[in-house]
Structure formats: structure tokens, C-alpha cells
């Protein structure tokens, strides 16, 4: 394994961390739209209150890591997704500000306005993440000079919109499962009802997206097809040398992912809060891992010519930078993990409103 592969894994881990952690923040935001009373809404906001900021740092750090390790991807992706990305940033700004300020006034219109802003911003952000993933799967109009050649509307194709809505349903379920753990009594029953609904919506989209992906892009399984499917691009030597091992593990992940999804439902029925959340988190990790394995060693696929795709070699920084930053990550990550865990531990248990609450 070389440093390029290691950095592909690191960026992947950061994105998985972001999706699991901010995924439930966004999900809580989406569900926020359905809650009726001020008390419920405050419980929702305060359930993510102490942690949302740290969760968003995973995205910022993933952006920084992408910049450091794969500057061409950073440049092509963010200039290519220009307007969607600007809208995403505005949505994230609104989420942060709505959360901080909605409870500062008692007026109904004030709180309702911020609540709506919070929910709509959460939906838009989730949708845009999904649209970005969808576009990467089907490929983008990337030219020989590594520049994106399409426009705003080339991002809004049927497949990407579908993955966008799928991501909304995924985060909605994840958020509901998280809220199960943070609420109690009557409110928990209400959240549980939502979780079941979100579950079935998610299941429908899960099958539709999986089927549509296999129909549109069967090459997505090339890397774990026991060598039976030839992709658009040359396979990485790591894949060729270990094709049986990788294929077996990947299909195990597919099966385990499906079991984890069923396990969410089982634990919702049995009201096992923590196992339900862990299953949901594992399912997100599995989905992103399979996506990453599917496009490996590419980071962005060109729909014009596979040779124009940005992969971990033609888009990476120099070996020296990759080595240095690998060491930086090695030193930094244990700290990050230890205080992240410590903070979740301090704020464990059911959310209660107090004088410092939002």
C-alpha cells in the first residue's frame, strides 16, 4: 500500500465520520419540521446542541485533507460544483445561526422563522451531499485539463436527484434513531413513530437506488466482482492482486449492511436505543465504503473520457507532502478521537432543558 492509497482511506474515514456524526444532526434538523410544540423543538435542538459544532469540523477537516492530499480534486470538485456548493455553505450558515439564536426570543414568529430555516437548511444540505455523490458515481464532464466543463444544470440529472433524496431519507432515519436515544416518555413514542416511517421510506429508496445504480453503472461493482466485470478504467494493482479477498469482504459488507438495516427495525420494535443507533451508523459506514471501493482508485470520474478522471495518482500532492501530512494525521487523530469520545461521554443520557440550553 502506498501513501496515495493511505490518503484515499483517510479522506474516506473523515467523510464517514462526518456522515455518521453530522448525519444525525441533519436528520434531527429535517425532523424538526414535523415537531409541533416549543418544548419538543427545544429538546431536539439541545439533543445536538453540544455536539453539532464538533461534528461539522469533520467536514472542514475533510476539506483541508482533500486540499493537502489531492489539491486537483479539491480544485475541480469545488469549482465544478460551484453554485450547489455555495448554496450548501449558506445552508450550513443558516443551520448554525438558527440553532444559536432561535431560543433567544420568546416571540412565536421569531422561533417559527428560525425553526423553518433550520429544517429547510438541513434538507437542502442533505440533498446536496447526495447529489454530489450521485454525480461522482455517474461521472462528471471533466476535460483533459482536469477542469469541469458542464454547468449548474448538468448536476441536476435524474440519478443524482434520486441519490439526493435517498440521502435525505438516510439522514432522517439516522436522526430519528439518534433522537430515540435522547428523548423519553411521550416524545420518544412520537419519535419512534417517525423512525418507523423514515425506515420504510429509506428501504424503498435503498432498493431503488441500488437497482438504478446497477442498471446505469454496473462498473461500480467491477472492483469486487471476482474479476468478472471489467470497469471503465484499469483496476488498481491492489485490487487485481487481492481480487478474491476484496470481493469476499465487500460482499460480506453488502450482506452485513443489509442485516444492519434490518437490525435497525428490530431494535426499534424492541426499543433498544443504542443497538439501533449503532446499526444505523454502521449502515452509513458500509454504504460510503462500498461507494469508495466502487470508484477506487478514482476520486472524480470523467464522463467525457475515463482517461481524464482524477485518480489518487494524477491528482495527488507530492510524496513528501503526503508523508508529512500522514505523520500529522497520525499525531493528531488520537487526540481528536479521545476528546470527541470524552465529550460524548460527558453529554450522555437523555436531553434535559436547563438554564444553559438553547
Amino acid at each position: 500500500m502506498d501513501y496515495q492509497v493511505a490518503w484515499y482511506l483517510i479522506v474516506g474515514i473523515l467523510l464517514i465520520g462526518y456522515a455518521i456524526l453530522d448525519g444525525f444532526d441533519l436528520g434531527v434538523g429535517i425532523l424538526h419540521l414535523f415537531s409541533k410544540t416549543d418544548h419538543d423543538r427545544r429538546i431536539f435542538l439541545n439533543s445536538i446542541g453540544p455536539v453539532w459544532d464538533g461534528n461539522e469540523v469533520w467536514l472542514i477537516t475533510a476539506g483541508g485533507a482533500l486540499f493537502a492530499a489531492f489539491p486537483d480534486v479539491y480544485a475541480t470538485a469545488f469549482s465544478g460544483f460551484y453554485l450547489p456548493f455555495q448554496i450548501l455553505l449558506v445552508a450550513l450558515i443558516f443551520r448554525a445561526v438558527a440553532l444559536e439564536f432561535r431560543s433567544k426570543e420568546k416571540m412565536k414568529w421569531w422561533r417559527n422563522t428560525w425553526d423553518r430555516a433550520f429544517a429547510i437548511a438541513s434538507i437542502i444540505a442533505s440533498l446536496l451531499f447526495g447529489i454530489a455523490i450521485g454525480n461522482i458515481v455517474i461521472g462528471m464532464k471533466i476535460g483533459a485539463d482536469k477542469e469541469f466543463m458542464g454547468n449548474f444544470f448538468s448536476h441536476l440529472n435524474g440519478y443524482s436527484l434520486l441519490t439526493g433524496v435517498f440521502t435525505v431519507s438516510l439522514f432522517m432515519l439516522h436522526g430519528a434513531v439518534y433522537l430515540m436515544r435522547k428523548t423519553e416518555g411521550e416524545l420518544q413514542n412520537l419519535v419512534r413513530k417517525w423512525a418507523f416511517r423514515a425506515f420504510w421510506i429509506f428501504i424503498v429508496f435503498y432498493f431503488v437506488v441500488t437497482a438504478y445504480t446497477l442498471y446505469l453503472k454496473p462498473q461500480m461493482v467491477a472492483n469486487f466482482s471476482f474479476g468478472m466485470v471489467q470497469g471503465d478504467f484499469d483496476k488498481h494493482p491492489l485490487i487485481i492482486d487481492n481480487q478474491y479477498l476484496i470481493s469476499i469482504v465487500a460482499w460480506l459488507v453488502v450482506i452485513l449492511n443489509f442485516l444492519a438495516i434490518l437490525n435497525i427495525h428490530r431494535n426499534l420494535v424492541k426499543k433498544n436505543e443504542l443497538p439501533a443507533f449503532i446499526s444505523s451508523a454502521l449502515s452509513i459506514a458500509a454504504l460510503i465504503s462500498l461507494f469508495a471501493l466502487g470508484i477506487f482508485p478514482n476520486l472524480m470520474i470523467s464522463s467525457i473520457d475515463p482517461a481524464y478522471s482524477l485518480d489518487i495518482y494524477n491528482a495527488s500532492s507530492s510524496l513528501k507532502t503526503l508523508k508529512i501530512m500522514f505523520f500529522v494525521a497520525l499525531v493528531g487523530v488520537p487526540f481528536v478521537l479521545s476528546y470527541t469520545i470524552a465529550i460524548y461521554w460527558v453529554f450522555r443520557g437523555k436531553t434535559k432543558l436547563g438554564e444553559n440550553s438553547y
Binding site: P50, D53, V57, F67, Y74, K146, N356
Partner: protein, 463 residues
Amino acid sequence: MSLDVEILARFQFALTIMFHYIFPPFSIGTGLLLVIMESLYVRTKNPVYEKMTRFWIKIFAANFSIGVATGIVMEFEFGTNWATYSRYVGDIFGSPLAAEGIFAFFLESGFLAILLFGWDKVSPRVHLFATCMVALGSIMSGFWIVVANSWMQTPTAFHIVGEGLNARAEITDFWGMVFNPSTVIRFTHTIVGAFIQGSFLVISVSAYYLLKEKHYEIARRSMRISLIVAFVASAFQPVLGHIHAQEVAEYQPAKLAAFEGHYETQKQAPLYIIGGTDPETKSTYGIKVPGMLSFLVGDDFDHEVKGLNEFPRDEWPNVSLVFQTYHAMVALGMYFIGITAIGIILIYLKKLATKKWLLKIFVISVIFPVLANQFGWISAEAGRQPWIVYGLLKTSDALSKSVAAEEVLISIIMFMIVYILLFFVWIYILNKEIKHGPEEVDLDQETDYYHRKERLGFFTRKD
């Protein structure tokens, strides 16, 4: 109609960074004060210090959250608007940004949770530790971003690899990049500037309470702590500014010449106290101290200072803008030293609370460090032009090729609307928190009762 992408992209960067930079110095400055206040609480167990800390944390949080929200934009703006720049220097420039995420942002945001919501969940010592970590995180964040910016000012430790479209800068020495010639001095200058801005916020609010004769105990102590910090920090700035000017003279002589509207290379170069400059006629006018620039730069009145005429006309920055912002910053810096010195003397004489005129000046003075920090950065950044990386890459060659002018314009309009809204919400909330003031009595019982009422409503609700 053809819109110019370069002008729009530069305008957008200026808009988003200047708006963002209202907030981090408040966080860094008040962060330091929070550490001092809470340490006093943990040491003395005096509840006044606890109330004080709790109150200033609320103010801190309002600034911090907008700082974070507007900061996310900056992390990605190099990719959205300056893709060619990102490709060209990403090998070097990306590293400090990634390090900022790993070492600073996680620290800040993680411990912020304990700072805001952890009062009843951890011991006072652990809470103080969290406060220290948040303050440290905000300073480290400042460090890494100043490292990145300083490399753009004084690029070192790189070599150019490849040719034509594939050419890019690659790193040769990581620590050489981190500690490039301007990092240390610019970091110190920036952080001390942030200390001044944060202290002036506390001074302003405390002066307001003293004028209104409210929250006397907290206002008096807050005033004393923040005035001392502001004075020490302000008094340091000229020393740092002097070292900084020598560094700029050595590595960015065109910028230094623009600071002073200095066109002809000469010995005994003058320093302007106030004035103006016109690059068309190459003339600078105003009140000047003869020979002072030579002395400042070379510790010798006969030191020869390079003028702008040594550089091709198309490599000059906007001389008038750089001159004016630089001089405004220096003038404000002098004002900070004077006004804080008067404040400290009056505290020593125990007469501050009766000097209403000075308290009034203190109330409005919070605006000046904000301006000084903005002006300083404008002169630093505009002074680097037309280079995005000094001497290596021109700003006009650094744009995103796939982004159309209309797209930049749409996003500018969007950010303007959002930022204007944010600004007013921020002012409104600050105003409300300040009017409300620190807690005088323990409100625990009251809030419980309030929530119980809400809860009753919740139980009887049908859905």
C-alpha cells in the same frame, strides 16, 4: 455585457474574509480574558468571578458561532473561486489548512461544548481546563491560518515541478514552510491585535454598566482585567510593528514602499504621520518625520529605502489604498495605547467610575480595534498585489477556469443578503444579552418551574 471574473472573485473574497474577520479576534481576545476570569474564580472561589465568567461566555458564544459559520466558507473558497491557485500551490498551502482542522478546530469545538453546556456536568477545574483548551484552540487556529497566509507573502521551502499547464510548486521542507520568514512576527502581531479587540469589547460593555450603574461588582472587575490586557497588548504592538516593518522591507520592499507612498529610492526616507499619496504624479504629501522610515527599517537615518520606482508599474499595488489603511491602523494603535493608559491611571486613582466622558468613549471604542484589524489586513493583502503568492503567481492567473462571472455574481448577491441579515441578528442578540446582563441571583428554580409549565402543556397535547 462582460463581467470580469477576477474583479468579482476578488470582491467576493474581500467580502467574505472581511465579514468573517470581525468575529475570530473577538473569540481569541475574549478567550484569553475568560481564562483569566475563570482562573480567578477557581483560585478565590468568589462567586462574582463565576457570574462574570458565565456572562462573558454567553457573549463569547454569540461571536464564536458566527465566526464558525462564516469560517466554513473560507475553508472552501480557495477551491471554488481560486481553483488554479489551489492546483498550483495545493501541495504546500493545503497542509496548514488540514493541520488547522486536526489541531485547532476539533479542540475548539469539542471543548466549547463543555464551556457552554458543561457547568453542571463537570467540576470547576475541568471546566477551567475546557476554557483553556478553547482559548488555545482559537489561538492555534490563528497560527495555522497565518502560516498559510505568510507563505503567500514570503514563499520559501518550495521548488517548481513540471512545465506549462502542469507546473506547480512542491514543498521541499515542511518546517521551512511553516516558519517562513514572516510567520512568527505576523502571527504575534495578529494575535496581539485580537487580544486588543477582545479586551475592548469587554471594556465597552463594562463601561456601559458603570454608566448605567448596573452590575457594579462584575463591571468593575471586568474593566480592570480587560484594561490591563488591552494596555499591555497595545503597548506591545509598536514593537512588533517595528520588527514587522523590517521584515516587510527585506522580503516585500514594494509593499513597504506602498505603506509610506515612497517612490524614489533614497536615504533619510521620511515617515508620514498622516497624509495621502497619488501614484499618477508619484507624490506623497502630509505631515512627515524626516528620516524616520530609514531609521525604522534600518536602525539608521542614512539607511537606503527602496522606492516603488524600482519596480515595474504593473507590479505596484493600489498605493493609495495601502497607504491609507496602513496609516489608519497605526493611528488607531496609538489611540489604544493612550486611551487604555488614561483608564489604568484613573483606576489607580480610584476615579474611573466618576469620569462619565471617558466611560462614554470606552463604550464606542469597541469599533476601533475592529477597524484597526481590518485595516491592517487590507494593507497586508492589498499590499501583496498584483501577486497572490508574492513574486511567484499573479492573482489574475489564479482563478477558477470553470466558473463563469454570472455564477460568482449570484453567489456574491447571496452572501451579501445572508451576511447583512447575520450582521443585524448578531447586533440584536448582543444588544439583548448586554441589556439582560449577568445573573444577579440563581435562577435555577424559576427555570424549572417555567419548563414544568411547558411540559404540562406537552402532556395534555393531542396529536
